[in-house]
Symmetry: C2
Subunit: 306 residues, 2 copies
């Protein structure tokens, strides 16, 4: 199987109470693809500038991520995000955003990226998400992330984009904002009435909840005593979630979705242990599996922890 992701490739400058970094490799497509790479073949679609170097590409290539659909824009500069977090690591404070090459991005997918079985539309302008969805029309399962900015400035295109995917993966506050429904269970049902058959509500340190027609499932965040940088946690979650579904599940049924929630939770937890992609870039599959089993033990209603 194979998985295509379209999203940002960025230089992130981040400060948290536990340290800071300048111009780290980041962006939603980067965090997503590294996380998904533990489970399936994943290819990234997105633009970079001339300042994006071989070192950055090598981080992706070392995890087997296909980078041939990363478009290098002559004379352009890579997307830049600068932000910080206080002790409440659930809230990112954006200090600067420079769209750069993302301002004129017109996605053009190669045959190989178009042929993917699964598609993730990371948080970019909804019109671009729709263009990619249209090009990748053979994908049997597509998921989409978004943010408050697009809910507020591009609501109609966003609703149209959501109608064209199978799964919405969004922060719970944004699911409420999108549907104008304060109750999360009702809000998730409203999203499903638009088209998606699964809704994943990301809840920061509290974990994530899954709503489907069959029911409700939720996992806590994996408990960590050291969280250094939450940037990219949501995309790592999505990467673990969709990567497992694409690479390790014959069918996307309720059981598969629940296990995928577990892998998403595990990848997000590794992501936040260090800055940027530092931890996930050197992660091993056995570590993923060990933590998945630990999470299972932690959430078993009856029975002892591992």
């Amino acid at each position: 199987m194979s998985l295509t992701v379209v999203g940002s490739i960025a230089f992130d400058s981040v400060r948290t109470p536990f340290g800071e970094r300048e111009r780290m490799l980041g962006g939603s497509a980067v965090h997503f693809s590294l996380a998904a790479s533990f489970f399936t073949e994943v290819g990234v679609v997105g633009p970079v500038g001339e300042d994006f170097g071989a070192d950055q590409l090598a981080v992706l290539a070392e995890r087997g991520v296909r980078t041939d659909d990363i478009e290098r824009v002559a004379g352009g500069r890579t997307f830049v995000w600068r932000g910080h977090y206080e002790y409440d690591l659930n809230t990112a404070h954006t200090d600067d955003t420079q769209l750069n090459v993302f301002g004129d991005f017109a996605p053009k997918l190669s045959e190989r990226s178009r042929a993917a079985q699964m598609l993730f539309l990371a948080n970019i302008q909804p019109q671009l998400q729709r263009q990619v969805r249209a090009q990748c029309d053979g994908a049997a399962f597509a998921a989409l992330d978004s943010m408050n900015l697009w809910i507020e400035t591009a609501r109609e295109p966003l609703l149209a984009a959501i109608a064209e995917v199978d799964c919405l993966i969004l922060n719970d506050a944004e699911i409420r904002q999108l549907t104008e429904e304060p109750n999360l269970a009702r809000a998730a049902r409203a999203v499903m009435s638009l088209g998606p058959r699964a809704v994943v509500a990301k809840q920061g340190e509290y974990g994530a909840a899954l709503f489907t027609e069959r029911g409700f499932f939720a996992l806590p965040g994996f408990p960590l005593e050291d969280v250094r940088d939450p940037t990219g946690a949501g995309d790592s979650f999505a990467g673990g979630f969709l990567g497992h579904l694409d690479g390790e599940c014959d069918e996307i049924d309720e059981v598969a979705l629940r296990r995928a929630m577990g892998y998403g939770t595990v990848l997000a937890s590794f992501n936040v242990e260090e800055f940027g992609v530092e931890r996930v870039a050197r992660l091993r599959r056995e570590e993923v599996e060990d933590r998945f089993q630990a999470l299972r033990a932690m959430t078993q209603f009856e029975g002892l922890p591992a």
Copy 2:
């Protein structure tokens, strides 16, 4: 087995986006004891005024709650709380508090209340909690709740009270505030170093997490499409949690604590479906069990929902 609770008995006036009520029966000891009454024999210790009537006592008596240690203060008035909630039902806004008979409360436990196997010190002044703990010295398991007010104004007595119990049940933000540790896992460990062997972090609609030496366990809030009044949810949680431990468990081990988290979650979910004690007062044990099984199915990592 039997369970003693000391805490407030109140008239609550509450407004939420879904309605309002004046002078409902409320208070931490009331919500706790009604919830616990589905599992064990429970007796309430606390003061009321002359305005507390037979109707209010009857609500407790109908659920089999022992009320003979409810002290009726001649010439006194019952504790009053008035508050409201916006659409974010996780945050209570207090509009008025009248301590009334609580201002001079000096707990005097009957022989029967002293002889309880289990004790819950609901959220009252820490010095009073310590007095009750000292009187109820045969209790094999004691748990304590508190709030930001006491963390800020009575920190030392509160720390001393916590050192004398087996379990702390507190909102997660207050656990962080108490320990001055923003990371919840570290904060819970800091609490355990004071004495308690279990820490339950209440997380509002996100559910609750259990920390013990053996490990970590968490449950989401039971998903509800209709939440009308969250007042008393935390005390109903504690009532279901300790009630199950006292009445239905031979030993308070990890398995028992996890199941008890489930019953706490279930009782809290019924509590918030209607105003005050309306829903729990007419709840039936079969409904508790049905929802417990539904919660189990919803949190099983692999396997289909019920």
